[in-house]
C-alpha cells in the first residue's frame, strides 16, 4: 500500500522536506503536490476529468500510457492498449511514475553550491543568475583550455539529442552517454557480425537460450511479455546464470554457469553444429562469410572441453546444440541488453551472434529481425561551427579498438580527466546521468570531480552526481514535458513513433533541458544554432508521414507499415564482405582475433567471491529507488550469498556484513540464497547514496559503485563490471 494513503502529508511537513524557509516564498507553486499527496476526499466527484496520452520514462522502453487527470492532478496512469510494443500493458514500475511527478524530494529551483562539494550547502538562486553563471563558467573553460575542455553526459532521454546538439555547437567532442555502462559490447558484436543490431522476435521463437540476461525482471518490451507468451505456446527456455533469477525460475532448464565462461558454451554449440553439419548449408553458402574458417577454428572447442570450463555437462551441451538447430530458424540465442560484464564482452557476444548466424534465423519469424524503417525525418539544423584551435579528437580516443564516437567510454574518459591527458578537461555538463551510482569505482569518479572547475547538473531529484555539483538545475518529469518524436523498434510488435505532450504543466521552477540549452546558447553567442522550438522540430520530424500527427493525437502512437520478415531478401549485409561475418576480416587487419578465441576468466581467489550485477523488476538503474511506491518493495539492498559459503564465514540471514574489494568497502545486510553459486555474490545497485536529498535512501544499504573495480571491454570500451573479487565479513557490531 502506498505511503500516500497511510501518511497524510501536512503542509508543515511538506515545507520542511522542501527546504524550510526558502520554500515558503514559493509555496503557491507547491499547491499541486500538496493536493496530490493529500488523502482522497470521501465525498464529491472531480469536476474536470481528462485522459491524456503520454509515454513512460520510468525505464528505457518508452511504453505508451494514458494519464487520468482530475482537476489538474494526475490520479492514475493506465496502459495505452493501442501501444503494441508493450502489448497494451504498463508495468507496476510504469504505474509508479505518478510518484516521480509528485515526489516531495524533487528539485524545485536552481541551487548554487555554497559549501564544499558534497557538504550539502546550497543557495537558492534565480534562473537568470543560474544561466548567467553557467554560461560564464563554460565560456571561461573554453577560453582558458579549449572547447573540448567540457564533458557532456546526456542520460537516456528524449531530449538528450539536444545535449548532443549543444555539445557540437559549443565545440566539444567529449560526449559520453549511459551506453558505455550498458550495451555497447552487444552492439559492437552484432554490428561486426550482421552489420546492424537486431531485434529478437521472441514471440514466435520455439527455442531460446538466455545467457547473461534476465528478461523477466530486467524488463524489455516486447521481449519480456513475448517470452511468457512464447513459453505458453511451447517454446523451450534455457537459462545460463550463476544466480537463480526469476527468468531461471521459469526456465525449462537452468544452468548455474561459472561466471565469465559463457563463451566456452557457445563455441561448443558452434562445434557441434558445424561438426554435425546441423546448419542450413544453402543459407550459409549464400549469406555467411567464413564458415570454413569457423568450422576449423571451433574443432578445439568440444562439449567435453567446454564442460570443464563452464560447469555445464557435455551431454547437455551436445543435446542443446542439436535441439537448438532442430528448431531453427525459429530458435535463437537471445542477444540481451546490458553486456557490461567482462573485458572480452564483445567477443563473448560475437560467439553468441555466430551461433545465431549458424541457425540461419536472420530476418525470419522466431529469429533475429532487422530494424524496420520508421521514416522519421532527420531535422536539418544550421551547420555547427568548426573550431580550428580544438584538439583533434576525444579524450578517450584510441583507448579501445572500436570505440563508438557518439557514446564514448566513461571508464577511459574518466582516466583521461584524472590524468588531464592528452589535454585538460575542466567542465562537466550532466543531464539525468548519475555515474557516482551507475559506474564502477565511485572513488575514481570522485577523484575525477576533484579535477574539475565547474559541474552543472540538470536532473529531477538530487542524485549523488547532482549532490557533488556546483550548480543544480531542476528538470520537469516526463509527465510535464513536450518532447520530440521518437522512433521505436519492437520486433513483431511494431516499428512506431511516439511523442510526449505535457499531461500537467511544469511544476515548481523546473525547466526542460531544451529550454536551458537554448538559454545558454543565447548567452554564449550561439543562439543562431538553437533558433527553433520543439513544436517546429517535431513537425519537421513527422513531415514524411502525413498520417502520423492525426494518429498520434487519436491513438497516442503511429505505426509505419513496413516489412518485418524477408526485409533482407535481395539486399546485402552492411559488412565488408556484404555477408554475415563469422570471420571478421576487419578485426584481423586490426590485430584482433577475427573469430572469438576463448580465454578463461581469472580464477576466484581463496576466501573471495566474484561480484555480479543484475536488475530486478522494481528499479531502473539507479533512478527510481527513491520513488516511494517502489522503495516500499525493496527499502534497502542486501548481498546474496550461498548458505554454505555464509556458514564458513559465520554469517547468518540479515547479518550486517562488510563487502570489500581493492578499491572500496561498503556495508549492508546479507541474505542467504541457495540459488547462487558458492563462488559468486550479487547485490542490487543504487543504494548507499551520498546525497542527503533522497529521503527514502539516505543511510540505506550498500553502494555497488563503491566496490566495483573499473575494467573495460578491450574492443568497445564498455565498462566490465563482473571482473571484481570481494571479501565478505561480518561487520564489527
Amino acid at each position: 500500500m502506498s505511503k500516500i494513503t497511510n501518511m497524510p502529508v501536512t503542509r508543515r511537513n511538506f515545507l520542511k522536506w522542501t527546504g524550510a524557509a526558502s520554500a515558503a516564498a514559493a509555496a503557491g507553486s507547491h499547491a499541486p503536490v500538496l493536493r496530490a499527496l493529500a488523502p482522497a476526499k470521501k465525498t464529491g466527484q472531480a469536476k474536470n476529468v481528462e485522459l491524456k496520452y503520454s509515454v513512460c520514462d520510468m525505464c528505457l522502453n518508452k511504453c505508451g500510457l494514458i494519464a487520468r487527470v482530475e482537476d489538474g492532478i494526475v490520479k492514475k496512469l493506465d496502459p495505452n492498449q493501442k501501444f503494441l510494443k508493450s502489448r497494451g500493458m504498463l508495468c507496476a514500475r510504469g504505474n509508479a511514475g505518478i510518484q516521480q511527478l509528485y515526489d516531495p524530494d524533487r528539485l524545485k529551483y536552481p541551487l548554487l553550491r555554497t559549501g564544499k562539494r558534497g557538504e550539502g550547502k546550497w543557495k537558492r538562486i534565480s534562473w537568470q543568475e543560474a544561466l548567467d553563471y553557467a554560461a560564464e563558467k563554460l565560456n571561461g573553460i573554453a577560453e582558458k583550455y579549449s572547447r573540448c575542455g567540457v564533458l557532456f553526459t546526456p542520460g537516456s532521454d528524449l531530449q538528450s539529442t539536444f545535449v548532443h546538439r549543444f555539445a557540437e555547437v559549443f565545440g566539444s567532442y567529449n560526449v559520453c552517454t549511459h551506453e558505455s555502462s550498458c550495451l555497447l559490447s552487444r552492439n559492437r558484436a552484432y554490428l561486426d557480425t550482421f552489420g546492424e543490431v537486431p531485434s529478437a522476435d521472441v514471440l514466435y521463437t520455439r527455442y531460446i537460450i538466455v545467457s547473461g540476461a534476465n528478461p523477466f525482471e530486467a524488463i524489455v518490451t516486447p521481449d519480456s511479455i513475448d517470452l511468457m507468451t512464447a513459453k505458453k505456446s511451447g517454446c523451450k527456455l534455457i537459462v545460463l546464470d550463476p544466480r537463480y533469477t526469476k527468468t531461471a525460475a521459469l526456465a525449462d532448464e537452468w544452468y548455474a554457469v561459472k561466471p565469465g565462461t559463457d563463451m566456452a558454451f557457445f563455441l561448443a554449440l558452434a562445434n557441434v553444429i558445424t561438426n554435425e553439419k546441423l546448419y542450413d548449408q544453402k543459407f550459409a553458402k549464400d549469406r555467411i562469410s567464413g564458415v570454413d574458417e569457423l568450422t576449423e577454428h571451433v574443432k578445439q572447442y568440444t562439449p567435453e572441453w567446454a564442460s570443464g570450463e563452464c560447469d555445464i555437462p557435455a551431454d547437455d551441451i551436445r543435446r542443446i546444440a542439436r535441439e537448438l538447430a532442430k528448431a531453427a530458424p525459429a530458435s535463437m540465442v537471445y542477444p540481451g541488453r546490458r553486456t557490461s560484464d567482462y573485458v572480452n564482452s564483445t567477443q563473448i557476444r560475437r560467439a553468441m551472434a555466430i551461433v545465431n548466424a549458424l541457425l540461419g534465423n536472420w530476418d525470419r519469424p522466431g529469429g533475429l529481425t532487422a530494424a524496420r524503417k520508421v521514416n522519421l525525418k532527420a531535422v536539418q539544423l544550421p551547420e555547427a561551427p568548426f573550431y580550428d584551435d580544438n584538439p583533434d579528437d576525444r579524450i578517450d580516443a584510441g583507448k579501445a579498438n572500436m570505440l563508438f564516437e557518439e557514446e564514448g567510454s566513461f571508464k577511459h574518459m574518466r582516466d583521461g580527466i584524472i590524468a588531464q591527458e592528452p589535454y585538460p578537461l575542466k567542465g562537466w555538463f550532466v543531464y539525468k546521468y548519475n555515474p557516482l551510482q551507475s559506474v564502477a569505482n565511485r572513488n575514481k569518479t570522485l577523484e575525477m570531480i576533484d579535477k574539475l572547475e565547474f559541474i552543472v547538473t540538470v536532473d529531477i531529484t538530487m542524485s549523488d552526481t547532482a549532490w557533488m555539483s556546483d550548480l543544480v538545475l531542476p528538470a520537469p518529469s516526463y509527465l510535464e514535458r513536450l518532447d520530440p518524436a521518437s522512433a521505436l523498434q519492437g520486433s513483431s510488435a511494431c516499428a512506431c513513433v511516439v511523442t510526449r505532450d505535457p499531461v500537467v504543466p511544469e511544476m515548481f521552477e523546473s525547466k526542460p533541458v531544451f529550454w536551458i540549452l537554448k538559454e545558454l546558447a543565447n548567452r554564449m553567442e550561439l543562439g543562431e544554432y538553437f533558433d527553433f522550438d520543439i513544436e517546429s522540430y517535431r513537425k519537421e520530424q513527422l513531415s514524411n508521414m502525413p498520417d502520423a500527427p492525426g494518429a498520434l493525437e487519436k491513438d497516442g502512437v503511429y505505426y509505419n507499415p513496413g516489412k518485418l520478415y524477408g526485409a533482407y531478401e535481395g539486399k546485402v549485409f552492411r559488412t565488408r564482405s556484404k555477408q554475415i561475418e563469422v570471420y571478421n576480416s576487419r578485426y584481423n587487419d586490426m590485430g584482433v582475433n577475427p573469430m572469438p578465441v576463448y580465454t578463461p576468466p581469472n580464477e576466484v581467489p581463496e576466501n573471495r567471491f566474484r561480484m555480479v550485477l543484475g536488475r530486478n523488476a522494481y528499479f531502473t538503474h539507479c533512478t527510481s529507488r527513491n520513488n516511494s511506491l517502489l522503495n516500499e518493495l525493496m527499502p534497502e539492498n542486501a548481498v546474496w550469498i550461498n548458505p554454505a559459503s555464509a556458514s564458513k564465514l559465520g554469517i547468518k540471514e540479515g547479518d550486517m556484513v562488510d563487502v570489500k574489494s581493492r578499491v572500496g568497502k561498503t556495508s549492508l545486510k546479507a541474505t542467504l540464497k541457495k540459488g547462487i553459486r558458492k563462488d559468486t555474490v550479487y547485490m542490487s545497485s543504487g543504494f548507499g547514496v551520498l546525497s542527503k536529498g533522497l529521503s527514502n535512501l539516505a543511510g540505506k544499504g550498500g553502494a555497488m559503485s563503491e566496490i566495483l573495480e573499473d575494467f573495460a571491454d578491450t574492443l568497445s570500451g564498455n565498462m566490465a563490471m563482473h571482473e571484481t573479487f570481494v571479501s565478505i565479513s561480518r561487520s564489527a557490531s
Binding site: Y173, Q380, P382, E405, E406, R574, R576
Partner: protein, 109 residues
C-alpha cells in the same frame, strides 16, 4: 625465369600492393572533414539540401570516388576541383568512417 628473380618480383609486387592498401586508408581530420563536406555541399545545393549520405557507398567506393575525382557524385564539380588535397583527405576520412560497410555507430534504443 630464374627462381630468385621470380621471388624478387613477387616480393616487390606484394610490397606495392600492401603499400597501396595502406595509402588508400584516409588519415585526415574526420571532424573537420564533416564540417567541410556539409558546408561545401550546402553552399552548392542550398541550405535546405540534404548532403549525400556517407552510408550511400562502401568504404572502397568512397576511395574510388576520390581517387578518380568523380565529383559528379556531389555536383558543383568546379568547387571540388579547386579544393586542396588536405581538405579532400579530411572529407574522405569522414565519408570513409561512416560508409555503408564501416563499423558504424548504434544507439541504446
Amino acid at each position: 625465369m630464374n627462381k630468385r628473380i621470380l621471388i624478387k618480383i613477387i616480393t616487390l609486387l606484394m610490397v606495392f600492393t600492401f603499400a597501396g592498401a595502406v595509402m588508400a586508408q584516409p588519415d585526415g581530420n574526420k571532424r573537420k572533414g564533416k564540417h567541410l563536406y556539409r558546408q561545401t555541399y550546402k553552399k552548392c545545393h542550398g541550405e535546405d539540401a540534404v548532403p549525400v549520405s556517407p552510408d550511400s557507398k562502401t568504404q572502397a567506393q568512397w576511395i574510388r570516388v576520390f581517387e578518380k575525382k568523380q565529383w559528379d557524385v556531389f555536383g558543383c564539380e568546379e568547387t571540388w576541383n579547386k579544393m586542396s588535397e588536405e581538405d579532400l583527405n579530411d572529407i574522405l576520412t569522414y565519408l570513409h568512417g561512416h560508409a555503408f560497410d564501416s563499423p558504424s555507430p548504434a544507439k541504446c534504443k
